[in-house]
Symmetry: C2
Subunit: 371 residues, 2 copies
């Protein structure tokens, strides 16, 4: 059995995957039976979701590898301009990118490992290496995860000698009594809660660098509110793992979780389900994102399909439960609002406050652009 | 509690770690208690070992992140010269590097995730992307592991646009009834079995490229035996995970496992134990390594502390058990020999056939060179 039918039988949302991802998935799916030799089982419906889920005996584990992208370049540029190292912030961002994906399937992070690749061993001279390690540890603490270890290769010829590439991996466990969240329970009537982002998070760094390079004062440009562009871009991401653990433990009827990253609100229809996501209220947009979108000449449609625009995580829950999710967020000091609902209808996202409609096929097109 | 005493109390072999690794370990150790909130426990004695080990209830899991280094550059160069894609081989090498580290603590690989970073999305055009995925899958199969998923970011400005950086992560389980292998049982009298490598494996690629660049015919140079240098360099690594699972299941009294990588036989004294490792017999050296060492003008000492020189994995076992390990290897088609013994004495490696003695402090010095 090959092609579409194998995916569908495995519960994979084939429609949302681009060609390269499909090819990798076909190879990966073929290896699923190997887990059974070790007393495990692959949950193939998790393929295409933000983390891979598998069983080992009665334990359900989640596993993810994720990278920061190119945001570390902004930290290097900002350090050169100001002498101020914010490598703690980008290390924090990296762990956040990893564990925020991991917790989307309902898993509590257990262990996070680091992958720091440089083009020259000289990178580690000076304070920034201390900042980097410090930020990584603090993000692990925020996620309630242990920093297990990692690898820090020097890769001349592969990685630019001035830069550091940040990535990592995490293992998590789905708490007993909770089903892994793979979109199976998402249904019309569910409420959608947006939890605030702190700014850029891990996505949009290449665009931000491009914009900065065209500004006379670059990353030192003052943005509305009085902060420097570079400083605001380097606000560390929010780690949502603890919030997810709390809303699951509170029985708030969570049916899906979407980490809003590189494709903005297109990620709201990450599952292939034929459902409409109607957004009636939006969170405040962080000034750095408003500035970035304006400078890039983006329409609302472009901005809301490229940046998180203030919504870092979407929590979907049973009708009437949105308020409980918002309260859990507030208890952790996170801003959140009941933003919309899931409806019967074609697969699309309707963002009423900005009059934007995103059709299902745009999700595929955007992924094919390479994220 | 900080510094040496914290490490020692945790069972970490502090003496073998360089300054940067110590700094990272100090931060990582501080996060160990977090696992207890999730019903787990960090095995801190695994810090500094090839994989991090932790308990979750009665299950002992191992977790590792590892990269290939720069060997993918050789595959790109060889493809440009010959039109022959060997990206399957370097993908295989990457999985081997990951799972061979993982199994050193006694773990059977469960799931392997990929991290493929390119400088340009164009990398994936053409046959090599298929080869890459195919090699990754085949290595997962050789390791008995499921390919869970992964991440394939395009990182302009960080990664060279012509190249692909290969890395990944794996989760494994230590079988019931077996203690994680962290060096605690290693003792005088133990036998050391060397299991053959297939050639370069994942370490020494930068040196090989340097040597090739100085040869008139470069990677197309004919080496003794008649093969091309580049072709031989790209022989895929051996995956030792199945062998390790077998010798553990057979009760062959395994006391330690050392994956012989970047520092060659210095890795034999990876634990900080005050023991002498006396090697009386060496495996045949693959022609590609003999050629590489000769062209580089290496002394035996340099060659045996830089390359694997034909020994890809060292299996330490109780007195009299070496033969059983060799038989298990033979059953899997792997060459192996009882190469030496562990003795009371200062921490050092004595390689009698080539009259080389490696002192304990060289292990630290070499790690400080940045591996």
């Amino acid at each position: 059995m090959t092609g579409d039918s194998a995916y569908r039988q495995a519960g994979v949302d084939y429609d949302v995957l681009d060609a390269a991802k499909r090819a990798a998935l076909a190879q990966a799916l073929a290896t699923s039976p190997l887990l059974e030799r070790r007393g495990g089982r692959a949950l193939d419906a998790s393929r295409g979701q933000p983390a891979f889920v598998f069983e080992l005996g009665a334990t359900r584990l989640a596993f993810v590898v994720e990278g920061l992208g190119t945001k570390s370049i902004i930290a290097r540029q900002y350090e050169e301009l100001t002498g101020e190292s914010r490598f703690d912030a980008v290390a924090y961002d990296t762990v956040a990118a990893i564990v925020n994906d991991l917790c989307c399937v309902g898993a509590a992070p257990l262990v996070v490992n680091a992958y720091f690749a440089t083009g020259s061993g000289d990178w580690y001279a000076g304070e920034r290496a201390d900042r980097l390690r410090d930020g990584w540890r603090r993000a692990c603490e925020a996620a309630g995860a242990t920093w297990g270890g990692g690898e820090s290769p020097t890769l001349p010829g592969l990685v630019d000698p001035a830069e550091i590439e940040l990535a990592g991996a995490a293992v998590g466990v789905v708490p007993e009594g909770i089903e892994p969240i793979l979109g199976q329970d998402l249904a019309a009537g569910d409420e959608i809660v947006f939890v605030a982002s702190s700014g850029l998070h891990a996505n949009g760094a290449s665009l931000a660098r491009k914009i900065a390079s065209g500004l006379p004062e670059g990353l030192l440009t003052e943005i509305p509110g009085g902060r420097r562009f570079g400083e605001a871009l380097l606000d560390p991401s929010i780690v949502y793992a603890e919030l997810v653990a709390r809303v699951l433990a509170a029985g708030a009827g969570v049916t899906y979780l979407s980490h809003v990253t590189g494709h903005g609100m297109l990620k709201l229809m990450r599952t292939g389900s034929p459902l409409t996501y109607r957004i009636g209220a939006l969170p405040p947009v962080p000034p750095v994102l408003t500035f970035l979108a304006e400078q890039a000449g983006m329409s609302d449609r472009e901005a809301y399909t490229t940046l998180n625009m203030g919504a870092g995580m979407a929590v979907y829950c049973r009708p009437g439960q949105g308020g409980a999710v918002v309260r859990e967020a507030s208890a952790l000091g996170l801003d959140a609002l009941v933003a919309g609902t899931v409806e019967e209808g074609p697969r699309r996202v309707v963002i009423e406050p900005v009059d934007v409609v995103l059709e299902g096929e745009e999700m595929v097109l955007h992924l094919e652009d390479g994220s």
